[in-house]
Structures are given as C-alpha cells and as structure tokens.
Subunit: 108 residues, 2 copies
DNA sequence: AAAATATACCTTGACAGGCGAAGTATATGG
DNA sequence: CCATATACTTCGCCTGTCAAGGTATATTTT
C-alpha cells in the first residue's frame, strides 16, 4: 500500500458500499477487487475491512448471510440495504463537497 | 461546520502548511482564514489546531516565535521551514493521487 | 464600574477508526 | 504432508479529533 491511511479514512465505508452497489459480495473478494482497481496501490487491511462490515451492518446499511459453498472456505456474503443505498448517495455528495473544500484549503 | 471531520482528517497538516506558504501567521488567524475561505462550511477545532502545531513543530516542518504585540493578547507566530515546504509539496502530490484513487473506488 | 464579548492560547481525557499480530478452517498443488 | 491460497475473526495498540475546561488581555455594552 502506497497511500496514507488517513487519506482514505472516512472513505472505507463508502468504498465498501460502492462495491455492493454492483451486487452482493464477500470480504475477501471485495478486497481483491479494490487491489485490482487501484493497480495494487491500495488495499484495505483485513482488520479494517471486517470491522467496517460489523459497523455497517450495525447501522443497517448492509446485511449478511452465509454462502452455501460446498467446497472451499465458507464465505459471508453482504448485501446493501435500501438505507445503505441512500447512505451511499449521501456519502458521494459529501465527497464532492469535501473535495472542493480541501482543494480550496490546500492550494496556497 | 457542515462537513464530516473524517473527510478532512489527514489534511489538517497540509491545510496549515498551505496557509504558512503565504507567510507567517498565528493560530487564531489561520482558523479564521479557513472559516472565511470555506464560507463557514469548515473550521478546525482549537484543540485539533494546536495539537497539529505541536506535531508539525516536532517534525521540523514549522517553527514558532512569540509576537511582540504591545496590545491585546499575545500571539505565537509560526513559520514554515524548508523541510515543511518540501513536505507541503509531497502532501499535495499525495492528495492528487489519493483523489484519483478514491474517485475510482467510490463510483460504482 | 461591571459584565459581556472578542481575541488568543493551552491542556486533559475520552472516543473512533485503522491496523499489526495472531488464530481458525478448508482446499489444492507440489 | 507441507506450503500456499482462500476466507473469516478477535485483541490490543496507536493516532488524530474534539468536548470541556482553563488562563489572560482588550474592547464594547449595559
């Protein structure tokens, strides 16, 4: 990972929700996907990822169920809920806004 | 303040360095300036601001001296150091990079 | 004259998120 | 049979933010 964690902090949840917008998935795969999408420049740490799942489920933004794999390790799948979809859009809006704000503030 | 702190987190130091790029200044004024620049949408909390000053000075990115006001409250002025200027440019680069990364990851 | 407000700085303790480290379990390739 | 890949989980530390409280001086209001 080459990007500072504090830059991503506050976006972890949105990144996960974004992935689930394209359909149910599970932890390991989501992390793989992030790594691929960024050309290996970024990946969530496992502890961070699974902590985020707990938090998002707690908040009602995602729900989970065990997959019925008959081979390999068991997988816990996650679905985004309607509240999660709404939250995702809200977060996107915040990103747009904060992006402009930060740009204003860090260019001297 | 209407913007989530976690969105700004990781940029506090850069915001301060950016301000000092335009010349020496002191805490209260910098915070005012941030508030004005963002139309009141964002302001650093005092504790956060002064913690950041300590951190940046510790790291050698800024240096401080007491102003010689003969009226009003005393002011501690801050200067950006050469190392701070370098760090500022590095941070700007990180911002460009992470901005692209986040954009990639949060748009489904 | 007293009280309120603005300027200006500082410290303490709590909290939340990220993450290193370690552990559990199954399947596959050498 | 052992290493590696897949897949999930928990514990405890670290760091940055911030609410709350404090100090001190000058101006404005009552």
């Amino acid at each position: 990972m080459s990007i500072a964690s504090d830059m991503i902090r506050g976006h972890t949840d949105t990144i996960i929700l974004a992935h689930l917008m394209s359909g149910d998935s599970y932890g390991y795969k989501i992390n793989r996907s992030i790594s691929e999408k960024t050309g290996g420049q970024y990946e969530l740490k496992e502890a961070t990822l699974y902590t985020a799942f707990r938090r998002l489920e707690q908040l009602g933004f995602i729900s989970s169920y065990w997959g019925d794999e008959n081979t390999g390790a068991r997988r816990r799948y996650y679905s985004i809920t309607p509240a999660g979809v709404q939250e995702y859009h809200r977060m996107l809006g915040e990103w747009e806004q904060s992006q402009r704000l930060i740009q204003t503030l860090i260019t001297s």
